[in-house]
């Protein structure tokens, strides 16, 4: 009865990945230097923590929450009040530790509110979170002492003693503070997935009934996970407070909660790193996409629809599927297909995009002239040429795309069959 199990203390792959992650965090602001990009990077860091904490509920615990922003938001509020206390000299903690205050607050509220919410699972759970979120949001406009009304609470992060010359005045310093927190929190949340509680949480997601028969109280498991998620959410909130120096009611709003859900899912809730991708996309969508096009909400909605339909595992699952193909050395067989797929998709989307942009232009900006700039081309929203042109481009794209898609589906299918066979072969060989 020799134990098959081998304990591997040094997992090289893991070290590489984590070092790379640290490196990316470190180098990002050196590559993207503008004001906006540094703020965006900072926000991405925050969003990563928030989405990962959300995924403790959604992906790991199977709890569909519509109110995660309550915990990030209340964390923000506590942190900003603490910040103001620090500036007012009433509290003596370094500004660098304020996110922890947010975390503790998030955890506190999770302990309080989670006690009711986690008594249920499934749809009732989702509905309670929706109700709690609506309540907290409504209260935020009613109790202006704490929430500052719709103007919110603002603060000044240049407070207290400078810490090794760090005043947090310049955005870049705040970025690095956030980066450190991001790294640590991601590491901690990953570690959580590897603990007994983390694993039992997965079991609760899969089959709560059976968990009861192996000694665990499912409510308790959900509750504890909820508290842990609340803690990390609170940290994200605290960082947000430092980053913006203002906290307004929208941080506890339904829109924010919805965004966490949407982008965590888009990134991929079934893999640990999925929400990280989701978080990055979230900031890009909200900050950049909305700048680039007026139709951004439409695009967002459509992308989301198609993702749910065709890649319910999110982007992460797409990546993993391709990694599998790569692992079996078959990526080369399919890259041509990919290229075809990509090119035709671009053609199709360019056509569709041009038409959407023209419609939006007609609706919103027609008075500013009839021309629309789109992907370097100048279109005239009132001329039939532009419309026919775009429609033609789109339809051609669509046709070609369909052809490419069929080809791709064939190739992909073949490769999967090959891989399947290969696995069987190895299994038998073993």
């Amino acid at each position: 009865m020799a134990a098959v199990y081998k304990f591997k203390p040094y997992n090289v792959g893991r070290w590489v990945i984590w070092s790379l992650f640290a490196l990316v965090l470190l180098a990002a602001p050196l590559v993207f230097t503008s004001n906006l990009s540094v703020t965006m990077l900072a926000q991405m860091g925050i969003a990563i923590i928030a989405c990962l904490s959300y995924n403790i509920l959604l992906g790991q615990g199977g709890m569909l929450s519509f109110g995660h922003a309550v915990y990030t938001g209340l964390g923000s509020y506590m942190a900003i009040h603490a910040l103001n206390a620090v500036s007012g000299g009433k509290l003596h903690i370094p500004v660098s530790l304020l996110p922890i205050v947010g975390g503790v607050a998030g955890m506190g509220f999770a302990i309080l509110l989670g006690w009711v919410t986690t008594r249920k699972s499934g749809t009732p759970f989702a509905m309670i979170t929706l109700g709690v979120a609506e309540l907290v949001f409504a209260m935020s406009l009613m109790f202006s002492e704490f929430f500052g009304g719709e103007a919110g609470v603002s603060g000044n992060r240049v407070a207290g003693e400078a810490f090794f010359g760090l005043t947090y005045g310049p955005q870049i310093q705040v970025y690095y503070l956030i980066a450190i927190y991001t790294f640590v929190c991601v590491a901690l949340m990953y570690a959580f997935t590897q603990t007994p509680l983390g694993r039992i949480l997965n079991a609760v997601r899969d089959n709560p009934e059976r968990v009861e028969f192996i000694g665990y109280n499912t409510q308790r498991v959900r509750y504890m996970a909820f508290i842990i998620a609340g803690f990390f959410a609170g940290i994200a909130g605290g960082l947000g407070a430092l980053n913006f120096e203002i906290v307004t009611a929208e941080v506890v709003g339904a829109g924010r909660s919805g965004a966490y859900l949407l982008f965590t899912f888009l990134g991929g809730a079934t893999f640990f790193f999925g929400p990280i991708i989701g978080a990055i996309l979230m900031i890009i969508a909200f900050v950049l996409l909305s700048e680039l096009t007026k139709a951004w909400l439409l695009y967002l909605g459509l992308v989301f629809l198609f993702m749910v339909m065709y890649a319910p595992g999110g982007i992460a699952s797409l990546i993993m599927m391709n990694l599998r193909v790569a692992k079996f050395g078959k990526l080369r067989q399919i890259w041509a297909s990919y290229l075809g797929l990509g090119l035709t998709a671009i053609v199709m989307l360019a056509g569709a995009g041009a038409m959407i942009e023209m419609v939006y232009h007609l609706q919103l900006n027609s008075a500013l002239g009839d021309t629309v700039k789109f992907m370097g081309a100048t279109l005239n929203a009132k001329s039939l040429d532009s419309w026919f042109g775009s429609a033609f481009v789109m339809l051609t794209g669509l046709g070609l795309f369909e052809l490419a898609r069929r080809q791709f589906a064939r190739d992909w299918g073949e490769i999967q069959t090959d891989i399947e066979k290969e696995i069987k072969r190895r299994e038998n060989a073993a």
Partner: protein
């Protein structure tokens, strides 16, 4: 002081107006292997559900090692050393076989709601899980998701998850349902192996299994235990013959094995 591992006293259960369990008395000594048989719908699974805490009884007492457990939750009962399997496979579909078993092992080794230790560092849990894998002969499928197992493998895993926590009293609800003969006999072997020294209650329809496995047989008919005795005595019992076995089938099935 009771010396029984499990004792049921005048246990009753109503669903709505219908009384399904009508005053069951049963006492199982430690280390005994008891087969519970009876016609379909007699209340065997219900009995198991009552004992394991899935339902609360309408009245009556259930004693586990002398302690009343009829008002306890399933996880409390499990922690007291009783564990069960299900007639309809009930495992964690999206966890690997290994993880399924390890989850079931954790509580008994004291890793309760632990979140400050790595699973990979839990030597005892991992070793025990590997032993279990070996026992239920699924070590080849160690990292396969449970949902991808074949039916028989899933049944084996079901048993594995049940015995993983090392409970002293084990309830198995139709463990061999849906298995071929060869597999059944292998399975019985397995059950015998893994339950050495433990108290076992099992629901079975396959008389071969029943007579091969049980020290004693409890016959449940219409929510009552009409006989509780050694296999020979039960087989000879006219009441049982009439209510359950049906003369010809009983012979051919028993003889066939």
């Amino acid at each position: 002081m009771s010396t029984y591992a499990l004792e049921l006293k005048d246990l009753r259960k109503n669903f709505g107006k219908t009384e399904i369990i009508r005053g069951v008395n049963l006492a199982v000594s430690p280390g005994e292997r008891v087969a519970v048989i009876g016609p379909n719908g007699a209340g065997k699974s219900t009995l198991f559900n009552l004992i394991s805490g899935r339902f609360g009884p309408t009245s009556g007492e259930i004693l586990l090692g002398g302690q009343a457990i009829q008002h306890k939750t399933p996880y409390e009962i499990n922690r007291m050393g009783l564990s069960r399997s299900f007639q309809i496979t009930n495992i964690f579909p999206k966890l690997s076989v290994f993880e399924n078993l390890r989850c079931a092992v954790l509580w008994s080794l004291g890793y309760k709601y632990t979140f400050f230790k790595f699973l990979s560092g839990l030597k005892d849990a991992n070793e025990r899980t590997d032993q279990l894998l070996e026992m239920i002969r699924l070590n080849k499928k160690r990292d396969v998701l449970a949902i991808n197992l074949t039916y028989a493998e899933q049944r084996a895993l079901e048993i594995g998850v049940t015995i993983a926590g090392g409970s002293d009293v084990i309830l198995l609800d139709e463990p061999t349902a849906g298995m071929s003969k060869s597999e059944t006999s292998r399975f019985i072997q397995l059950i015998k192996e893994v339950t050495v020294g433990k108290t076992l209650l099992t629901v079975e329809h396959d008389m071969g299994v029943v007579f091969g496995l049980a020290d004693k047989i409890a016959v449940v008919v219409y929510g009552e235990v009409i006989a509780f005795d050694t296999p020979q005595a039960v087989r000879a019992n006219a009441k049982v013959q009439e209510a359950y076995l049906g003369s010809s089938v009983a012979d051919s099935q028993v003889g066939g094995h």
